[in-house]
Symmetry: C2
Subunit: 255 residues, 2 copies
């Protein structure tokens, strides 16, 4: 432990934690964000992310060797964390500097176009990572991937796949990717599309879908056998990402 | 309106509502459950479900012609509904009597084996319904499909696909279905399996998967390209149900 007196709610370090949990602008001003709970913090450490400090509440245990450790006083973490019954450990991590230029000849990118719900973006990260996408690119209007709810709902996928943005469809086209927008009602059936090409698979806003204003090279749709509108955007992203992976596995085994 | 004095929290009808929201045993004793919010209630009505009564809070509007309507007093719905900020309408619906015998030569059943999380069961219902499954069958230990959180998270799919249970794998085998268990680590790759056969696609408990005690005819797994364990059971069910649909579409177009 690097200090002996537990930090109270008014301590500048605690106030900084609170700002990083609550405000996107604070996160980007400082290039830092908060990870909640020992499981996710350990996963970030294992994946090589830089942890600046850990804050342990009474009853908690810091992740060994990861960073400086500060103790929080009784009742402090409940006023700072994003959940009602927080786990007794928070960490501040540094946001990595990332740009599309980091991607060398990408062949499979997932694109979140104005995704508003943190849980949906978290699921998109999980699906893209599990299906082997090289990155998730966010377009303008997408919820911050470093917001506490996205960090939590990504279940650690955030630490294993680069998230880059905001970008535009033109940026992706310029990298040689075919930009494929998903639609709930128009386009070719997703399983008829050739996903072995270099693709950027774009899913859109929960209410409005992929905007007509976005320049896409193709549109695909997921045919429903049941009543319309029962798939949400996160489920659609999961189906599409795994169709990309499936086609590439079969393509590789045939050639 | 069928009465003039709004019902208070202590009224027997309100206490019944509260029991049906909160207790599985009360739902099955009475063969009734609660649907929350005008959107879901309207969807149930449109799908032909029998609504016994509607309870409208101040500011709410009942679904026209669906049932008897009762008014709730100020502050009552907040003490009865399952959400913190409820929509101002609840309905009591009759549970349909259903059994495996209703299914005539089924070819595609989704099976929930000890699914504990209501949100996951809701997503399984959505995926199964959208992919064209004929029913969702629940095995022992699965959360009640008529619990308020499942009703809500199914986004209406509950009203469009029969949910039947509890059943056993032997019941499904006896109907001529190949019972396919999903595993996070063993079995044939799901995309190599022939889903054009009559199948019961089984997903298992969030922590323990499909129990070894369950008699399955085959096991499939979803290969991950990324870090292990990033798909949850609801995402797995979505991928599997849509692979069944995809193979059948392709099979049909080839034959």
């Amino acid at each position: 432990m690097s200090q002996h007196e537990p930090l109270g709610f008014g301590h500048p370090k605690v106030q900084r934690l609170r700002r990083l949990v609550g405000r996107r602008s604070a996160r980007y001003d400082e290039g830092a964000f908060v990870i909640e709970g020992p499981g996710l913090i350990a996963e970030a450490v294992a994946a090589g992310w830089s942890i600046e400090a850990q804050f342990v509440a009474p009853g908690g245990t810091p992740v060994y060797g990861a960073s400086q450790v500060f103790e929080l006083g009784v009742g402090v973490i409940e006023r700072v964390a994003s959940t009602e019954t927080p786990q007794p450990l928070l960490a501040i991590a540094a946001m990595p500097a990332r740009s599309l230029g980091d991607l060398v000849r990408p062949t499979f990118i997932a694109v979140a176009a104005a995704i508003a719900d943190p849980g949906n973006l978290g699921t998109i990260l999980r699906s893209a990572e599990a299906a082997g996408a090289e990155a998730v690119v966010t377009l303008a209007g997408t919820v911050d991937c470093y917001s506490p709810k996205v960090v939590r709902s990504s279940a650690g996928a955030l630490f294993h796949i680069p998230v880059i943005g905001p970008a535009t469809p033109a940026d992706l086209s310029a990298m040689g990717l075919i930009v494929v927008g998903t639609s709930s009602h128009e386009g070719v059936a997703y399983s008829e599309f050739d996903w072995t090409q270099p693709v950027a698979v774009m899913v859109g806003n929960e209410a409005h879908g992929v905007s007509d204003d976005l320049a896409v090279d193709a549109r695909v749709t997921i045919p429903h056998r049941g009543r319309a509108e029962s798939l949400n955007v996160a489920m659609a992203a999961t189906i599409l990402c795994f169709e990309v992976a499936r086609q590439r596995t079969h393509h590789a085994s045939r050639s």
